[in-house]
């Protein structure tokens, strides 16, 4: 969906890619992901120009990504900068470290924020 993108945000492509990927899940896969993650993440992203955009990743009810605040309520709201989100998705930064260094702030269920890594990351190697 093109309306999920937000101009001026580097992480915008990332989010729309995520959204596309989610929409391609089969129902079974969606259910599996939802079962594992079980949370609604609201991302408040701020870019260099001090603009903020809010994206919601619903991994509890619908398994979708959309722009705007969480409906219904988010389980965790994550506040971070555009750069940080990009780094997180690239794997350059992991959620825990970001949190410890203050790059990532949370409101709500903090532990859920650590699952954000897995949600964002493209694919993880298996041990």
């Amino acid at each position: 969906m093109s309306d999920i993108k937000a101009p001026g945000f580097k992480s915008s492509d990332l989010i729309s890619g995520l959204e596309a990927a989610f929409s391609k899940y089969t129902d079974a896969e969606k259910q599996a992901q939802i079962k594992k993650t079980n949370g609604i993440f609201e991302l408040q992203v701020t870019n260099g120009a001090k603009e903020t955009v809010i994206w919601t990743i619903d991994m509890k009810k619908t398994g979708t990504v959309y722009k705007g605040k969480a409906q219904p309520k988010a389980d965790v709201t994550i506040i971070l900068a555009d750069e940080t989100l990009v780094d997180l998705a690239d794997g350059k930064l992991n959620g825990q470290k970001a949190f410890m260094t203050g790059k990532l702030k949370t409101k709500g269920n903090m532990m859920l924020a650590t699952k954000l890594d897995t949600v964002l990351k493209g694919a993880k190697a298996k041990l």
Partner: protein, 653 residues
Amino acid sequence: MSFQGLISGSECAAPANPLSQVLKHTEGDRSLQQDRISGPSTSRLHYLPGNSSSVPANEQDIALARQFFEGNSSGHAMAPVFSVPHPAELARINEMVARPGISEHWGLEQQHQMRGLDDSTKAAAWATEFRNAPQASVAHTVQQNIAGPEFQQQRSYMSPLYGNSMPMGVYGMGATGMQYGTNSNFSTVVQGKGKAKEVDFETAFAQVMDSLEPVQSSTSRIEEVDDGVQEIEESLRAAAIDGDTEGDFQKYVPLSSSAHRLHVADRVWEELQNSDHPPPKEDIAKWEAEFSQLMSAQRDELEDYGKNMQNAWEGGVGNYDGNIGDKPMQIDAEGIPVLGDYVFEQNNKFLDPSSSRSLLNEAKALLEQNGSLSEAALMLEAAIQRGELGEGGYEAWILLGETRNMDEREEAGMRALLQGVKRAEESGTPGPGMLSLAISFTNESYDRASHSMLLRWFRARYPDVSVPEETVRAMTTNSAWDTHGRITELFLDLARAQHGQNKMDEDLQIALGVLFYTNGEYERAQDCFAAALNVRPKDYLLWNRLGSSLSNGNKPEEALGAYREALQLRPTYTRAIYNVGVACLNIGADKEAAEHFLSALSLQESTGGDTSDQLWFTLRRALLSMQRSDLADLAKPEAKSNLEIFRKEGLDF
């Protein structure tokens, strides 16, 4: 733990030493509290509106409070609360806190309930103080009545925390300080914020909850607090979190007269002081529910992340087992998921009853010769179904689990391994399969389960090494971050001891590697696996593990090298092929990635077995990255017999 340093060095101004915080509140400076509670009469006696007499008319108040109480006690386990010293109150407060708007309710219950009217945060503070003299915002009044040093503590507590004014401040309290800290924080937060911020309260609440749970295992920096903490924890657990309190509270809350509040507070306080019942058990469940609720409640921005994290570590935070969602995953006390029985393949050609060969042995032979993993798995399934279970009744199961995992079928592998591990334990020889199972758990992000399993492996493998009771108990209560620290310490100690004797047990290294990997410390994991590889250079599993540590540690090129080694040793190692694909994706070589996935799929397909969903799933991602959503739509398990279409599109596998 290094986190300490992080915590101390956080941007928050809170003192690094939680003890100081605790001490502060023994100093008693309730001024802030007073302001909070009610503008007009800042002096102690709050409940008497406009009355600032220093000594509350206790009898009257108490009587009123009693009345008040009597009238309301529906739902609130006031009695039990009272019976339980402090902790109960605390629990109540927590309860209260958990609900937005409950703060009022809470206040009521807790003596200081009245104060709670301001905001739940007060309750938080109260919780802390509770121990000493529960009373959040109503500090004044409480003071009046209680006139205890604790009270002072509470106030003073609030003051220093005030400055922090963040829910997270509670976290900052540190382990021992947790009990107190959290309580204080609550108060402080409430006070500090100057606004009835439920968020703060909730956070504080969570904090308390957290602190309460791991009380036993928290690394107490402040020794003296421990006892109290335990007590409180117990009380808390006992305290019932009554969902109905809110309603009741409402009745209380609207009391316009502060006198009412005071009465109730008095009464509560009295009760608390006098009663000594053990907390009711059924409340724990409620309490936990509250806790969960609290955890999901909105919180204010954390100023001290480090501290928050610390608290979260030691708390049960993150163990939100099956509380939300339509179909939550069932997880047992140790964090191990309840998966259900193994599902055998329906059309298993090896199930032919007339054949009398030993399928188990054949499967082993096949694996030795680098044969097809799917075939071997089918053989093993048939063997099991025919009752040929191998050594101890577990051998076949474990082999099946490991084979399935190698074939990139994690779910099936996990179930088989769970069976195998269980049987091995039952037959008196625990240990086999545990390491593999822990790895499966890590792959599927069941961190706590992984830690529990690793601990079990450790104890089975090194029965002579003593494991602190606390660590064992921690597996069932604490969060993954905390258990991780403990287990790592345990393993490292042994590794160092071995090193001192010039020995190296590569299994221990592997286990350590898995631990580090689970925690995201990929560099250290790489070191461990490399060390183990020195001893076993032909172990393809180890090469794969090294590869994955490199890959997740953002060294995809090196990872590819390791995977190649693994594949040279075992060309049918589906998982390694999958991992190569993933590494390619991470480099951005989408097409190659897709090709690898497809080759893995065709390998599985050609041997007649079922294809791995994980492969399809990741193939789809690769295709989407290539901007070929048309192909992505086709990439479904149903297409397994029709892989040609992909070849036609130019994908070479």
